[in-house]
Symmetry: D2
Subunit: 424 residues, 4 copies
């Protein structure tokens, strides 16, 4: 008799294939679920493989549109960046995938979900917090945290043997000496030879971006139009292109944009080294930052910046589906109401250059700021502004009133001059 | 009879030369002060010019060492960046210059200081808050805020005429259609044709950095060693170089590093467009960020990041000499105690790439993070961690206890299984 | 010929009566405006006085309802408190009054507004920022900042003489040796003998609250019901009372609730000493804090708390009508969606005691928290939670995995035991 | 053969007595440790009881002085308060106790420590994070999280039976229907009948404070002197008293000061209801807040306030011994350098009233703030200050320059008057 039904997040690779078979061995009915979030993958082959390994049902779902609209756009609005550098390409995909997995589990009446994430990483948390939030009664089987499993499969060799024994097709090409996670937005590389934080990444590691050295020798100029902080249309060399995010990914990739090599702090408390390439996300990050500063009031921007930092932490830590993240997303979305306009930029040899911007809702006031036109601005006001701002830092020692001396047009202001200096 | 002595921040240019003469005309003795903070300048010519225009004394002071050590280093420690983009190259020079100006005023018994900053900008505030903080009784003469002055000199033509009339040498080359501010760390460009935020900056504007298109076709690799968050030594292509900041400026300049085109929010409330090139500062910003994340505890980093944002605002707004900025600098300095180590990086075509890092004080624990070695880490702990983290977001609806089911090695944990589902 | 029309915020007192006449003298038509925001005042007498002094029109407006609903309620939602102590009773009234003043100015075609606030205080800023925000072209006449005026009226004696000369009725009772500001929410006392921060306030200063020593010798018990963070109904001794804010003011006043004596930091940079009594606001502050913590998610509360601190600063500094304050009010309002429920409390001798609370939307889970029932909570999970939380602070030195030793039911967890201690 | 030595945090009560015997039963040598942190306790009886139950060694340690100096004082400096209400009396004791427990464990060569904290509370975390931080290799035995233990002792009845069977003296008085934690600073009450958040606490619950209704009918006046934010001396009715913290506790207790009834958010994610009485801590909190605002610069205070909020969270969550808490304590300590002075206050019927304050380091400037003396303050400056502050909120629509109209002493300022209104 079956112990119940498990929806397994299945990649088609060696690990999750072994998990599939192991779950069956343990007495579960297994439904596999593979999300298309833009990664390079032979989805048909994966489907056949899962079926051949005994999956009761196989779901392959194209989540690309919802990934962009419901997850990447809000992150762009938030200028979400973790520890000042990481654009969260993996983090943002997790709640999207797990949400669908939970929908399938509910629809298929499964009480269990399972995944192949390791016990030391962030992804286990991101997957599971989403699962619990959307299906609190669900039971999660995380084999890499179950002693029976991880003590049995200590190394890759053990998995290979198990695979051979159970008719699981074994990969013919040797595994890269690091692990990867890919989607529409980015590819991450970590573990293996990258665990030594001093050793440089091999040149052939990157799959999504060209090396800047091999990138075109002349820039591409593009224009991105935003509406409420979200990408509305994209022009490359003055031509409107079809699509929004994908053309930016391709263009960025061609120019080697968005490679970073960082050490980051995981939620579970350890530092890890990661290498990321985020071509389209990097372009959008810069373009959005520019149009936002152009259209947002300074103080709204400052508060929103603080909320964005918190949002990035929530996203990184796996709390997309949480009361605080929903609250912060709402607030950030509100802040973007006037973030409309166009940014012109060029990409060249790994770098993004902002060239100019325009907006129907800009708070930029060309006359007010002009050095050539006085406009409705009385420079005398700045004297008062500065002197009042100096009152506090000098603790009330004489400032105010002292600077009008020369000004013969303000005779009455001179009353302070004859006063004796009192060091208050 | 003299109205008193003024120490004038004198650049040798048309504006401050006219101010010098005008101050004399108004009845003041004028001492000029010109700080060498690394800008390109003919200091001898400026000295002679000031003398010929009737300055009572001429001070030309080399502040480069103290500018780097007392102002740039703390800003690097703080990762000081304004509105996510501007590295504050102008802001950080102002308190350095004004401090010396005030020292001269005190030493020469001058009750007045004067400068040529405009009435719409940030610099007037940065200068004057420093002056008031260090010499609260000082009187400041800011001609561009005095109606008598600014109504007399409405355009450049008026200044030219006045110069001719008073024997002030008039520049022979036409003025660039923008204004500039240069020092060791950066050059800023604003005003004039740049006031239109949509128009692109002309290619020949940049003086400190090569165009990335014309930069070398192969990267330079360098290593920067930090001690307490401050630059300790620099290696280029494995060779130790003389100097710390200057070699980075030159290398960055050669590779076109550190150009930005932004709209920013001034302290006085208007938005302005600025173009900046900060070759050395940009390299250091990236290198410091990397070594800091490598050596600082995650939560210390997070608190320090918040303090750094505040520090950048204070610096931008002119509050270097204020109780809060002194306090925050102290705290940030404390945070950097363990920020020691070396960062390897390459610069190429306008971009900085981190390649690797090492540190005697790193908190990076290669065994702990390894995917190949379990180390002192029990994956089971992560299950508890995740489930407790899920308690709050789902508001106490069933989570805890539900996920150990499969695990036959924890038989007693199964007590929750037979319970009826209660939606608490 | 008239220089134009001024709408003067008129209190009926000596100062603004002199200002009224002085403005006429200066050639303006004067319209007076007096807002009823709950202060004790003879509005009819004030009307007659203004008319007799030559006001072209006299507006007396009852703003009490909008003051409570549009200004006090949002402040309660925000738990707005300045520098941890001041409930902002004066600050919150200013934008309410100035908004109406501006409406009258627009409706009457007046280009000027005027007020009697001093040049050292916060109120001038609060009034004028509201005026500029709602009527950017308005011209503000602040006599206490105009040398012609303040040099003419140096002391109260000068005002008295001017009053006598111009037929302005002079107060017969001597002025209290401090100044006061009263409204529905509070009375503030400052200046005069209170300027010495060491001297105690006289016992007879307070007008809105009884001395706690003279307050009733037994508590009153009340219940306040909230809906979306706003007061919905009030019960005293189990009886529903008419009104929301006023009954709390009266009850609090009777019991001596809400007196504070503080030194605070003004926006213009100086410290000042203020004494406040806020009977109803104090009760509501405590009740709202209680229901909020009961119904809000912990992390939403934390973010909202930070927004509330910012809101209080904006309110204090006069930025109610600003982009950032509108943004923050929106966010706070959103946070209060689930802040529904009832709080029981007692008031006694100056103090408010929370007795209990209940809510249909509480996140309080009595079974989950119970020490007597295990509920859906596996204590084992806490072990993992703690150990993972310890990973970071100890920098990866051995923690995880070490604490399951005793537990014979987790035999497989013991794998770490035999390992040699490695001090990583 | 012994499994090893355990240092057990022993209270002398039923629970930890059973744990003592159970640990022996499980094969451990048990050393008991009882900290005197000011709670009411018969320490001799506890010693004898532990010995009679077979403890190998019994440690009873008086930690009162270090508790006050190393833990309470820094919390007072920080104005540490959790979720706006809880003064953290239990939280702050935990690291003090656990630190000594760990010292004993190291000194006695014990590899284990144990405690009787439950699996749902905060204290388990506070104890254990301290233990791991100070002794990373330690193994912790938390019986209430071990299935063998908690499944055996489901209710109090099971413990009683076990006690009888093993010769453990059984309490003769019935247990209060709630649990308590007491120390010098406070007593907390929770669980049992208090778990219903609506039910009111019984009047006889409080042990440390008199009911305000029964408190003296006249106030006591006291003066507290601070040095660097820490209590230096205490005067009651103008008489210097011996001691610092204890006299405040007694005085506060006599007047019924410091009772609160709250719902709070535990670190593990659930809400719980707690009742606390903190008589001395409440007095100190108010007095410190007052002297701090009096002596600290406004902006330093603001930054320090934010750090204090973070400190309170760390303290509540158990991270006293963590890099971030050490960092924040250092910063807060730095902020208190000038927090010297005396606060006069009265306590009466449960409430603390600040009466006045004085300080040699105050930034309060009586002349600057005075309404009667102009001092070194030019009211004209405030006009400029306000107008520049209005530039941003109204987005550059006409403000600046418009308000000098009336002022005949500034004729040149009138240049804006003749301009056409341009709605920029």
């Amino acid at each position: 008799m079956s112990k119940g039904t498990v929806v397994l997040a299945y990649s088609g690779g060696l690990d999750t294939s072994c998990i599939l078979v192991w779950l069956k061995e343990e007495g579960y009915d297994v439904i596999t679920f593979l999300a298309n979030i833009g990664q390079e993958e032979d989805f048909d082959a994966a489907k056949k493989k899962a079926e051949s390994l005994g999956a009761k049902k196989v779901f392959i779902e194209d989540l690309r549109a919802e990934f962009v609209e419901e997850f990447i756009w809000p992150s762009v609005q938030a200028s979400a960046i973790y520890e000042d550098r990481y654009l969260l390409g993996t983090s943002v995909a997790r709640p999207c995938i797990a949400r669908r997995q939970i929908q399938i589990a509910r629809q298929e009446g499964a009480q269990y979900v399972s995944h192949g994430a390791t016990g030391k990483g962030n992804d286990q948390i991101r997957f599971e917090l989403t699962c619990y939030a959307l299906y609190p009664e669900v039971k999660i089987i995380a084999p890499w945290r179950i002693p029976e499993f991880y003590n049995r499969f200590v190394g890759r060799k053990d998995l290979m043997e198990y695979a051979k024994k159970h008719g699981i097709p074994v990969p013919v090409t040797p595994k890269a000496p690091w692990s990867m996670d890919a989607n529409l937005m980015h590819i991450s590389y970590e573990s293996g030879i990258l665990e030594n934080p001093k050793s440089h990444a091999p040149a052939d590691l990157y799959l999504m971006t060209k090396s800047p050295e091999d990138a075109p020798n002349s820039p591409d100029v593009l224009e991105i139009e935003f509406k409420k902080g979200v990408c509305l249309s994209v022009y490359i060399s003055s031509s409107h292109v079809v699509g929004l995010f994908s053309p930016l990914v391709q263009l960025g990739g061609r120019h080697g944009v968005g490679r970073i090599d960082i050490v980051e702090n995981r939620f579970i408390g350890m530092k890890s080294r990661g290498i990321y390439e985020t071509p389209g996300g990097t372009i959008l990050y810069h373009a959005h930052l520019d149009i936002e500063t152009f259209t947002l009031d300074r103080e709204v921007r400052r508060i929103k910046q603080g909320l964005g930092v918190k949002f990035a932490e929530m996203l990184y830590n796996g709390f997309w589906y949480s009361p605080e993240c929903e609250f912060v997303r709402h607030c950030i979305d509100k802040s973007q109401e006037s973030v409309d306009g166009k940014v012109q930029l060029s990409v060249f040899k790994g770098q993004v250059y902002i060239l100019g911007r325009e907006s129907p809702k800009s708070l930029y006031n060309e006359e007010l700021v002009s050095m050539d036109v006085q406009g409705d601005y009385d420079p005398c006001d700045a004297s008062g502004f500065i002197k009042i701002n100096a009152v506090r830092p000098i603790g009330g020692r004489r400032v105010s009133g002292s600077a009008r001396v020369l000004c013969s047009v303000h005779p009455n202001c001179k009353w302070t001059d004859s006063q004796q200096e009192t060091n208050l």
